[in-house]
């Protein structure tokens, strides 16, 4: 098994109504990624792995093709992977086996999302993800089902909204230090609690924004990495895990699929005591409670995340810093690109280039994303 490194990263601003087309966003993210590798020419990249969430967002059938020319992939192998919201980190997983298998020495991983195309709001298109026979006739939307899950989580662990709201306060504050963030800001718990109730118990500030944006990473084999950089970050553990599509048949208290994916990725990376060994955590946080819910799964202890939050351990200077980037709540949530942004954050943190966001002495980090019908967990573990 060959070792795989991340040797460069680049991204666009995450914005609502970003005045760029999808190809333009991809091109800019790729350019910044290659610039990050010392101006490496695309000619030295063996292939491209693309990811983007539903075709409906771009109104484009088979939209992986958008990336061919925009990412400079003409004449190179290119495929697209896609597991809903889990796509960004899944692309890290898929990128890993592209290189580890020996098929590629260098691989560009590109993620993008253009959520502002659907007018007036992307939520309408999310109604097309449900089972067409059993669920769609009920007219559900994502916020409804997340409200169910949040309620269950609060009930099971006897949590108050005030505590969960602190995730939004923390992540938006962290995002102030992210140069590409959409919703960095200083807000209070009261701001979250007093924001519009979307579906109880979800308030507007519990939710990440809809965003446009793109992210690119360059992966390399160990040999290529030695040739191209002095500061690689190693992608040492990868996994995905999917639960049943019938989400109504599951206990929503605990993301068991995230737990299984994390266990597999930790085993691969030689992580035996995650809370002690991992320095940077980037759990998927499209909603406030989801950061806690996912952290429970990553650590493997239901209900531990709210305790760590209450103790202040999830702050950047805490023992278990989560979403030092600002996460989806602060940086923004262009679905597939948001997950890859989290992997990029690990790269910047572990290579010591995260600027004001830097977690001191970070050696090992984990990024996780989640998606499909509340059923898939995708996890990568990186090491300095």
């Amino acid at each position: 098994m060959r070792r795989v490194a991340i040797i460069g990263a680049g991204m666009t601003d995450f914005r609502s109504m970003l005045p760029m087309t999808s190809p333009e966003m991809i091109r800019l993210a790729v350019k910044r990624c290659l610039d990050d590798c010392g101006g490496l020419s695309i000619r030295y990249v063996d292939g491209v792995l693309a990811t983007s969430a539903p075709d409906a967002f771009d109104g484009y059938h088979d939209k992986g093709a958008i990336a061919v020319e925009a990412a400079g992939a003409i004449g190179k192998p290119i495929t697209r992977v896609f597991v809903g919201g889990g796509s960004g980190v899944a692309a890290g997983v898929a990128g890993w086996y592209h290189v580890a298998s020996g098929a590629f020495d260098t691989l560009l991983v590109v993620a993008w999302e253009k959520m502002s195309h659907p007018y007036p709001h992307a939520q309408k298109l999310f109604q097309t993800i449900f089972d067409p026979v059993l669920e769609k006739p009920l007219g559900p939307n994502l916020i409804w089902i997340f409200a169910l899950e949040m309620m269950r989580y609060m009930e099971a662990h006897r949590l108050k909204k005030e505590l969960i709201a602190e995730v939004a306060v923390k992540n938006k504050r962290n995002a102030l230090d992210h140069p590409y963030s959409q919703l960095g800001g200083r807000i209070t718990v009261d701001d979250v609690l007093n924001s519009e109730i979307m579906v109880w118990p979800v308030n507007r500030l519990d939710i990440s924004p809809t965003s446009d944006g793109a992210v690119a990473l360059l992966l390399a084999s160990e040999e290529a990495a030695k040739r191209l950089t002095d500061n690689p970050v190693w992608l040492d553990g990868v996994a995905t895990c999917l639960d049943s599509q019938f989400w109504t048949c599951r206990d929503l208290t605990y993301p068991y699929y995230v737990y299984l994916a994390a266990q597999r990725a930790f085993r691969m990376a030689g992580v035996t005591a995650p809370l002690k060994q991992i320095d940077v955590w980037e759990p998927y946080d499209p909603f406030t409670y989801k950061e806690l819910h996912h952290l429970d799964g990553l650590v493997g202890k239901p209900g531990i995340a709210p305790k760590l939050l209450a103790e202040g351990q999830l702050e950047r200077d805490g023992d278990c810093p989560t979403s030092p980037s600002g996460g989806l709540l602060g940086v923004g949530n262009p679905i597939a690109a948001a997950g890859l942004m989290k992997v990029a954050e690990l790269y910047w943190q572990l290579s010591g280039r995260a600027g004001k966001r830097q977690v001191p002495d970070a050696e090992i980090g984990v990024a996780q994303a989640w998606g499909d019908l509340m059923q898939v967990g995708t996890v990568v573990v990186c090491r300095r």
Binding site: V68, I74, G75, P77, G84, Y97, L242
Partner: protein, 373 residues
């Protein structure tokens, strides 16, 4: 690196219109047959790689709906957006890298439930420059066929000879569009997209296929196993930017073959058969030409390698993104000696060449051989 084997396969055979089962039930049947064929249960498999496209299935995030049918709950999962041979490509890398030892790969499509497929396919064209023209996207295939004939100097009747060969072969295995025909029958058809006539264009078929791939050190190797020596993918221009194409050529085939030779250090010559997803008759010729085979001779039953012994898409139908899976399984059956009336004598090595979609300039190539080769 360890060898990757195909250890099981299962199909819900192609049919013009499946009226009893819905797409997930078809997928279940194919997977169940694959597990039986491999003498495995879903517990033996560590992951699922599915293929498909949202708009073909009328559901966003279509991968959510596949693994349950394939025993994939709480296992590794990945969807590859495109043709099923691209999913095979990903599964191959997963096993080669050591990430997984045993994985099941899916291809499924039910075009009979799509009311407006041409409109869906038009959605893959560039929204600024091409889509507003309101073209039937199959016009692109007509232009491509015309360019190929001009470039090769072959007469247009060669298209009918390909159709005759594939449709007659399909008749031998009871495929949905198989019939006994002669060149004059096809030539008498109306033009659909000149120079393509009615039976130069594959009609739709509903189909599901599943294969189980494994590392050789994770399974008991039998002579029914087939080695997947290499699979590669290449894209030269994308569907939306078809003005970038080298019209009348499938240069991605040559590019993928070059990668197979250079990366895997294997020769691609000496294959006994080639299964191709020829959604249009000229595509088989175009691909043959890139493989270095005299395109005009592929219509000849006695040519080696033999092209599309299964009857290809013209005989079995266009199963959209599952077409690559049908072609792949047809090749595996040949190498196992289980292809029934269309079995080629002494079939040891085979190629599968599958396009990303009917009108794209991207595709994948797989090289297969018997385990004892």
């Amino acid at each position: 690196m360890r060898r990757v084997l195909v250890v099981g396969l299962g199909e819900f055979s192609p049919r013009a219109r499946e009226t009893d089962l819905e797409i997930r039930e078809m997928t279940f049947e194919a997977a169940e047959r694959a597990f039986l064929d491999a003498d495995m249960t879903p517990d033996d498999v560590q992951g699922v790689v599915s293929s498909g496209l949202d708009f073909n299935e009328g559901v966003s995030i279509t991968d959510s709906f596949t693994p349950d049918q394939m025993g994939g709950r709480l296992k590794f999962n990945m969807l590859v957006s495109g043709d099923a041979l691209e999913a095979v490509y990903h599964a191959f890398m997963m096993v080669k890298s050591g990430l997984l030892d045993v994985v099941v790969v899916d291809g499924h499509a039910k075009p009979s439930e799509i009311e407006n497929y041409r409109d869906v396919l038009r959605g893959s064209l560039d929204p600024y420059c091409t889509r507003p023209l309101g073209l039937d996207p199959y016009v692109i295939a007509g232009l491509e066929a015309r360019a190929f004939l001009a470039r090769s100097g072959l007469p247009a009747t060669v298209l009918s000879r390909i159709a005759v060969k594939n449709i007659n072969r399909a008749a031998l295995i009871g495929a949905p569009y198989g019939e006994r025909v002669i060149v004059e029958d096809i030539e008498a058809d109306d033009f659909l997209y000149a120079p393509l006539k009615e039976r130069h264009v594959a009609k739709f078929s509903d189909y599901a296929g599943a294969i189980i791939m494994a590392s050789e050190d994770a399974v008991a190797v039998s002579d029914r196993c087939v080695e997947l020596v290499a699979v590669e993918n290449s894209g030269l221009s994308s569907t939306p930017h078809f003005w970038l194409r080298d019209w009348g050529r499938a240069r991605w085939v040559r590019s993928a073959l070059d990668r197979i030779r250079s990366k895997h250090k294997v020769v691609t010559e000496g294959v006994d058969l080639v299964e191709v997803t020829e959604f249009f008759a000229h595509q088989e010729l175009m691909i043959a030409s890139e493989l270095g085979v005299d395109a005009g001779a592929t219509a000849d039953e006695r040519t080696t390698p033999v092209f599309n012994p299964s009857g290809g898409c013209l005989g079995n139908g266009n199963s959209l993104t599952a077409s690559g899976m049908r072609a792949f399984i047809a090749a595996v059956k040949q190498l196992r000696g289980e292809a029934g009336p269309v079995q080629r004598k002494d079939a040891h090595r085979g190629l599968v060449v599958s396009m990303h979609s009917e009108i794209s300039d991207i595709g994948s190539v797989a090289l297969l051989q018997g385990v004892g080769e």
